[in-house]
Amino acid sequence: MKKSYKIEVDCANCANKMEDAAKKTPGVKDAVVNFMALKMNVEFEEGADPKAVMKDVLKNCKKVEDDCEIYL
C-alpha cells in the first residue's frame, strides 16, 4: 500500500536524511521524500498498519532532523 503525506522541512539535505530514516523504519518497504513538493510517499510492507508505522517514521525523522514535521 502506498500513501502520500505532507511534510515540513527546511533544507534539502535534511529531506534526504528523513528519507533514509523513513526507509529504515520497520514496516516501511520504500519511502521517497520529495523536497520540492514537500511530500513524502511511503510504501508500506504487506500487513503493516500505516498509522502505527507512520508514528515510528515521525519519531525516527525527528531523531535525524529535529526541525521537521510530517502531517499524519
Binding site: N13, N16, M36, V64
Partner: protein
Amino acid sequence: MTKKQKKMLWRIIIAAVLMIALHFAVEAFGDRVHEPVWFFLYLIPYLTIGYDILLKAGKGIKNRQVFDENFLMAVATIGAIAIALINKSGDYTEAIAVMLFYQIGELFQSYAVGKSRKNISALMDIRPDYANVEVDGELEQVDPDEVEIGTVITVKPGEKIPIDGVVVEGVSTLDTSALTGESIPREVRPDDEVISGCINLDGLLRLRTTKEFGESTVSKILDMVENATSKKSRSEAFISRFARIYTPAVCISALALAVLPPLFFLIRGQAPDWGDWVYRALTFLVISCPCALVISIPLSFFAGIGGASREGVLVKGSNYLEALSKAQTVAFDKTGTMTKGVFEVNGIHHSSMDNEKLLELTAHAEIFSTHPIARSIQKAYLEGMLFREDGEPVEKKDDLSGRKLDRERVSDVKEIGGNGITAIVDGMHLAAGNTRLMDSLGVQYINCHEVGTIVHVAIDGKYAGHLLISDVIKPTAKEAIRALHDAGVTKTVMLTGDAKNVGEAVAQAIGIDEVRAELLPGDKVTAVEELLAAKPERSVLAFVGDGINDAPVLTRADLGIAMGALGSDAAIEAADVVLMDDDPKKIALAIRIAKKCMHIVNENIIFAIGVKLICLVLGAAGVANMWLAIFADVGVMVLAVLNAIRALFTKNLRA
C-alpha cells in the same frame, strides 16, 4: 516570507548590528575595559544568531547524528572562540561572522526555494476551485470534488472548466494554453468532449460531467507534475551519495589536519603551533557542508520540469528529463504522430471534366456511405475544396451557401463489397472505386503516380479520372525532424503498419532517415528492440507515438513519449513524457529543455564541488581563513540556486 524566516531575518540584523557595535566599542574602550567583559559581551550576538544551531548540535549528538551541519558549525565556531580565548587575541568576531553568514545562507536558501516552489506551482495553477451546479434553478458554487458523474455544470466565460465532460448546451471557444502551451483557441459545440483545465473564453457552456474530479485530466496532470521530482535522476542519486561520503571525509581530514602536523613537528623537536593547525582544521569544517549541491540539483530539475510543463511537455520524473537530454535515436509512429491520421482528398487527376464537378458527382454517389474514404470525399465537397489545373488542392471556397448533398439527385446506389460503389447521379451512371471495380466494368484506368488510396471514377462506362485520398502530413512535421537533428538526434526512424510505399513517401517528404513499414503492433516492439541493440552506447532511444495501440512500444523504449495525449488515459499511463498537443515540433523543444536543464545541473555540480575543493586546499595550506570559507560556502550556494532557477525559463528554446 514566512514567520520563521522573518524571525531569522531579525536575528541576523540584531546580531550583525551588535557585532559591529562591539567591534567599534573594543577600538574605543579596549584599553579601559578588560577581559572577560568583552568575552561575555560578544557572547550576546553569538548566542542570538547561533543558539538554535548549538541546540540542534546537542540534540544531534544525543541522537547519534554527529556529522550534520549544525554540529560542524557549532564545533567550528566554538573552536574559533576557544582559540581567541587561548591566544588572548580577543578576536571573537570571526566566530560570530561565520555563524551569521551561515544563517544568512540558510535564510536565502529557504526563501529562494520557497519562492521558486511558489512560482512553479503558480505556473501550474490550473486547479479549478469550484464548479457551478444548478440547484433549484439557481447556480451554486460547489467543491469540484463533490460533483458526481453525470451532473450538469455551468461554465461561465472566463472560468476554468473544472471537470471533464461533454457539452450539452452552448457554443464557445476554449483556451487550452495552460494544458498544451498552444495559444490558438479551440472551438466547441454541443456533443464535443471538453477537458478540465481549459479556460472558457466567450460563451456560456453547460456540460455533463463524464468523470469524477479526481479522475479528470486536470487532477491527473497536477498529480503527475507534483510527483515528478520523486523519481530521482542519476545526478541526484550521485549527489546524495556524494553528500553522505563527503561530510564525514572532510571531518576526518579536519581531525587529521589538527593533530598530525603538530605531532610531526613535535617529534622533530620543532614548535608544534597547535593553534594554527586547529584553526586550519576548523576552516575545513566550515567548508564541509554540502548544502549548495544538495539544494541546487533537485531545484534545477524541479525548475526544468516546471518550465517544460508550461510548454505543454509533461515529464514524469527527473530521471526521464535526464534520459530525454541523451536522446540520440528517435523512433516515430506514423499515423497520428507525423500525419494527422485523417484522410483527405489530396488531388484529382486525369479528370474528364472540371475537377470540382467530378468531386461533386462522386460525393453524391457516395452519399449514403459511412466509410472513411467516402466521408473524406463528402467532406471535401461540403467544404468547397478547390483544385489547381494539375489536380493539387489549393484552397477552400469561402461562399458555401446552398452547398449540400442532395439526395434527390441520386438513385440506384449499389455498394460493391470492398471494391466501390455504383449509382445514378444526375441521370448519369457513375462508378467509383478501386481498380478491381474498373476491371469488372471493363474501363481503362490510369494509375496514379502519387501514394495513397485511389478512387477511380467512370461515368457512363467511360473513365472520368481519379481522386487521390491520403493521410495528411502535419504541417510542422518536416520542421520537427530538422529541429530534432539540430537538437543532437543522430537517427530518426519511422515505424508504421502502413504499406511500404506509403511509409517511404511520408519519410521522404519530411526527411526521416529510416523507415520500417508493414509492421504489425507486435513487430513494432521487435523493431524497437533491434534499434535498442544498434544505438550508440549510453545514448537513449525515444519512441514517439500517439498512445493508441502503441502502449507496449512506449514502455519498451528507453523513453516513451506520448503525443496529443489530452484525454487519453492509457497514453498518459504508459508514457514517460507526455506532449499535451499533437505538434511534433514539441519533441525537439522537450529535448532542448532537458539539455538546458542537464547543462545547469552539471554546471552546478562542477562549480560547487570545484570551489569546495579549492577552498579545502587553500584552507589546508593556511591561505584561506574562516571568512573566505564561509563566503565560499554561502556564495556558491546562492549562485547555484540562482543558476538552478534558470532552468525554468524556456522561451528562447522555442524554435
